[in-house]
């Protein structure tokens, strides 16, 4: 067995016995995200590299500490990609961190989320046991889907050491279109387009301008571009990458940044600061100094939730607190995977 992996198991076993807290960390590009950082760092970066990649199987198996940029470059060499378009909040971002945080980029509404592309995972649980769930095949219903459960769990259920991911071919053609449009009209338009078989792969509304990206077969992209009109921008990768990585000017201000996950048809939530809309209306970024409770209340009233994504001072819980039986099941799951409560406590 791999020595690094054995070290991870040993570290976790010892920490569990001593009830010493561990803080799982890859590139550290998402240290800003989630609850307070506590515990001794367990660095995943020594466990890096692609374990298996066969483009014709559409599957890559990769160790957690592998830099996202390196993985994506390899896939690009074979005309493929991670279709959930994970954000890079720094050059050091790793695939393990991307999965643990469970964040997805502009293509999410069209292609699916990080969890949708996870076929299997090897983890080390809070006992130090190395476990494997799922596999390297597209269809697999043997046992509960623990691999997907790990995605977005912020490392609180276990250390993801390796994941097998479904990859997809890069689209043959892409084009962006821009339209001048107020927020309410943009939300209605995006939902109308999403109900038709159009190759819309990303959307962004900000300050009266709606941008969409079309991706797919050349014929499909051309036909859609002709039909939808607007101002066409052909090589616009930079814009979508900046949006994905929060390098867009909207994200540079200092006011707290909220992420609202809402039903896509939710009308504009007025009076809650500056807004940037993605995912066809389903993801709304809001910059506001308003009380956390008020922001949450508005999101819940619309049937969604609010996350305090980035803030200098986190004056309220980052993630929306859970209630009742759901909270009880979450506590029991945490106990099941990490009985000593040592893995990334407080991060989620």
């Amino acid at each position: 067995m791999n020595a690094v992996l054995q070290d991870f198991q040993e570290t976790i076993r010892e920490a569990a016995a001593a009830k010493r807290l561990l803080r799982i960390r890859g590139g550290g590009s998402k240290d800003f995200y989630g609850g307070p950082l506590e515990g001794e760092i367990l660095d995943t970066t020594p466990y890096a590299g692609v374990v298996a990649y066969e483009p014709t199987e559409l599957v890559v198996s990769v160790r957690a500490g592998t830099p996202l940029a390196e993985l994506e470059a390899l896939l690009a060499d074979h005309g493929q990609m991670l279709a959930f378009e994970p954000p890079h909040f720094g050059a050091a971002a790793t695939i393990g961190g991307a999965l643990a945080a469970g964040l997805s980029g502009p293509r999410r509404a069209a292609a699916g989320a990080a969890r949708d592309f996870v076929l299997g995972a090897r983890i080390v649980d809070g006992r130090g046991d190395a476990l494997a769930f799922g596999g390297q095949v597209m269809k697999n219903v043997a046992g509960y889907d623990v691999s997907r459960l790990m995605v977005g769990a912020m490392g609180t259920l276990g250390l993801i050491v390796e994941a097998s991911l479904k990859v997809l071919p890069r689209p043959a053609a892409e084009a962006s279109l821009r339209f001048e449009m107020p927020q309410a009209a943009a939300i209605a338009t995006l939902n109308r387009w999403a109900g038709r078989p159009l190759p819309v792969s990303a959307s962004c509304w900000r300050g009266g301008v709606l941008a969409i990206r079309l991706s797919g077969a050349r014929a499909a992209v051309e036909a859609a571009a002709r039909e939808l009109g607007g101002q066409r921008v052909d090589r616009d990768d930079g814009f979508w990458r900046a949006l994905r990585d929060h390098a867009h000017e909207f994200f540079s201000a200092d006011t707290p940044l909220w992420r609202l996950s809402l039903p896509s048809t939710t009308p504009p939530l007025d009076g809650h600061g500056e807004t940037l809309i993605e995912w066809g209306g389903a993801q709304r970024w809001v910059r506001t100094s308003a009380e956390g409770a008020a922001v949450r209340e508005a999101a819940v009233a619309a049937g969604g939730s609010a996350t305090l994504f980035r803030a200098r001072e986190k004056s309220c819980p980052v993630f929306q607190p859970l209630q009742g039986p759901l909270a009880k099941i979450h506590r029991r799951l945490k106990d099941a995977f990490d009985p000593a409560g040592i893995l990334n406590p407080g991060r989620m």
Partner: protein, 498 residues
Amino acid sequence: MATQGVAAERDFAGRDREALLSELARVLPREALLFEPEDARPYECDGLTAYRQLPLAVALPDSEDQVRAILRICASLGVPVVARGAGTSLSGGAMPHKDGVLLSMAKFRHIVRLDPAARIAVVQPGVRNLAISEAAAAHGLYYAPDPSSQIACTIGGNVAENSGGVHCLKYGLTVHNVLRVRAITIEGEVLEIGSHALDSPGYDLLALMNGSEGMLAVITEVTVKLTPKPVVAQVLLAAFDDVNRAGDAVAAVIAAGIIPAGMEMMDQPATRAVEPFAHAGYPLDAQAILLAESDGTPEEVAEEIERIRQVMAGCGATEVRASRDEAERLRFWSGRKAAFPAVGRISPDYYCMDGTIPRKRLAQMLTAIAALEVKYGLRCCNVFHAGDGNLHPLILYDANAPDELDRAEKFGAEILERSVEYGGTITGEHGVGIEKIDQMCSQFSKQELEMFHRVKAAFDPAGLLNPGKAIPTLNRCVEFGRLHVHGGELPHAELPRF
């Protein structure tokens, strides 16, 4: 398969039947509670008909309040509960427990709400898969996962099994198309999992619910995502005089950057079984045929079909035909869709397997199956969701012939173990149920199985929902004698041996 016992499972015998029936009678109308053997008989099995078991009682609630009341009664009396939709499971997932209540969700058949603007449908669990697409059709939308049994199977069962279908490679499984599940725990508590947004706070419990085989909670409502209907679809039929070449062609299509809406393979025994029945026009001299479908706008489909045609020709296809119209497209598919009934016509019984393997292992697997046909003296027809590596070998046998069922089961078990060995899984879309529970011991280690039991206990601490299915007890694995050993550790060292 009835020969297989449920040894080493927990014993629920000795529950107070009279107390159970009188408690249930207080919360259910007379006609919604069946306990005479002749009334309960229709519920004794699901699609895996070789396994049969009468439950203590069958409950047919029609409201969520009744479901909660039934579950609370069962929890307080320690009585197992098995939920059932249309009963089309091929793995015995809905087979009753002899000391338990069979909870039929058949009366939950309303589409609560269909919102074309938001592209969602809120449905009760007993709504049939196809009924959702039918209701959405007027809005140019449909529900994408299409298991072969879609005219009968229900959405509650689809979630429980994480059902697939012919179009998963492009459109995903049930888990990719369900936004929200409302479910009741055995303690009678309501869980709202997921939402009408694309993600929700907390752990991804939706991922756990999909494919949980009724082991975690009873589903009372589901919100599914609806997908815009493609403008056109066209299918290409390619014939090969060698199974390996057909397998290579599948890889070559993917390598060309094409994700067909569906890509199916049938071997010669399968095409020969279906052709007299379906008249699909398959070339019967071919060793294997591939069906590859493209959908989208007319321009897109024309471009993609031409590219697939070139790839197939380049891979040595002896014949390539594209459907010329919708009638021909449906005719090409009719043979594939009729594979199971057609095989039922040429053989008194058949046993359908569901292993998934990495596609590159296909030729190896087909060679292995050919050898197993000789070893067990039984024939096997192969239909294969080639795009995603999911195999459905159909082992032909005659249950009335001595020991044929037993040979068929052993044949099947060897295919499953081979699937694990090749880096795949024992079940791609039919579920573990009771059928493949022993093979779980080959696929997972002791620690992994223990973790599954802990996950179940987080939802169902008393272990009353569908006990004895999906996840084997460690004792059972010891009895079965096949364990997946990690790192040379002695399996189940602390357990007493029998």
